[in-house]
Symmetry: none
DNA sequence: CAAAATTGTGGCAAAATTGTATCAAAATCG
DNA sequence: CGATTTTGATACAATTTTGCCACAATTTTG
């Protein structure tokens, strides 16, 4: 991934420089500004990945800036200010700020908070996108695409077949009873013969075999099925 | 949307109750615990949408708890503590905390921070990527002009068709359910037959094919659609 | 070993889902 | 306002999935 770009805006040039040096040491790209208008223009020209802004600035104050940017962008914003009253903090956080730090603050704490925000964004991103992909034996089971792949190509499981294989893979090395499968995959209310599970297993085995996989679904006699990860 | 569920853990029962009453007034569901083990067990049994935890607690301390939960879950965590040293704050934020508040704190500020975190999550969810030209297979999808182009010429998608193709392209390699499409593109309140999505897909496929593109929209049986980037 | 219980296999048809064509309502536009 | 485009609905055809059956094969049990 490219270095993340952070814009800092504070009318005290010294503070800008201190924060900047710390953030650069942590591997971020940083640009500094000394009033609200210039950071807004810079952001419109080239969006940053995170903004650190002071409340009291010439031209445009931090609150207005925060609200303005939030109308168009979801960029994370950290507000830093000498104003430490409860109402200031609440205003800042409510107008779109992701965090509010009161001066004087420790640069290390700022960095920890910056990283925490980026981690939050990553967590949210992977949450939406990547469910857990399971690789078992020579089969890749991907719940995002709802495909099981051998050697890079889809082995063509149907929805139900996929769910069953995924469930067994999640519970590998544990025998899963037919009743558990009926409960979890078919649903409690669904009235269906117990042998329906055998049918699904039959079809999955066939498709695995046709694809050329050596993954085996073991039968646990009088109980159910299991997948054993045989190294 | 359902009410969000928040778990609070603090060995001072009074603090739990104060926070709880404020959060409930704001429309959250809240449960309180007085040590680290009980909140962990509760979370394992039924995950909450956000955790507020104290550092100094019996059984399991807040730092360990934070690290433990973060191994398996991306639930947002706010740490509250009487420990106000820089190193404590940094430790808390680094171990997975989304925020760190030092006691005594204003309940209103806590609420503002809770809301700020939920807003961040919503922003991350909706803004996958904005106004970004996507090239997929042989098709160029340009959200600025709202045109999809093959070989430099517009293939003539309508507005809705374009939005659908763009959404699928943004989420390529992930199966998107019909309900997700209805929510995100038609809008939650809009009551429309599920089959409306099929109609759009049909029209997009036809226009892609007429234009001469080889881009394929896959049907995920019993679920929805997806675009797979086939190299 | 033989009977009973359980599982594997192939085929089949009902049920569910999707594709297609057509049409009318709704929106857009000049 | 009228013409055109867009878009959702309906009906029906085509396809896919999946439960079930009958029977063979296998395993357990006495």
């Amino acid at each position: 991934m490219d270095k993340r770009l952070i814009y800092i805006s504070d009318d005290e040039i010294n503070i800008c420089n201190i924060i900047k040096s710390f953030l650069i040491k942590e591997g971020f790209n940083v640009e500094t500004f000394n009033d609200g208008r210039s950071i807004l223009e810079a952001f419109n020209a080239k969006p940053a990945d995170l903004l650190v802004i002071d409340i009291m600035m010439p031209e445009i104050d931090g609150f207005s800036l925060c609200a303005t940017i939030r109308q168009k962008s979801s960029v994370p914003i950290i507000i830093v200010s000498a104003k430490d009253t409860e109402s200031d903090k609440i205003a800042g956080l409510t107008l779109g700020g992701d965090d509010y730090l009161t001066k004087p603050f420790s640069p290390m704490e700022l960095i920890a908070r910056v990283k925490s925000i980026f981690r939050r964004i990553e967590l949210d991103k992977t949450n939406v996108r990547n469910n857990h992909v399971i690789k078992i034996c020579d089969i890749l089971i991907n719940p995002n695409t709802k495909q099981a792949e051998f050697d890079g190509k889809n082995i063509g499981l149907t929805g139900m077949e996929f769910n069953l294989l995924y469930y067994l893979a999640e519970n590998k090395d544990r025998a899963v009873s037919r009743n558990e499968l009926l409960d979890k995959l078919w649903g409690f209310e669904n009235e269906v013969e117990t042998r329906a599970t055998d049918d699904m297993i039959k079809r999955i085995r066939k498709k695995l075999s046709i694809a050329g996989s050596v993954l085996k679904i073991d039968t646990v006699w009088g109980f159910g099925f299991k997948i054993v990860e045989n190294i």
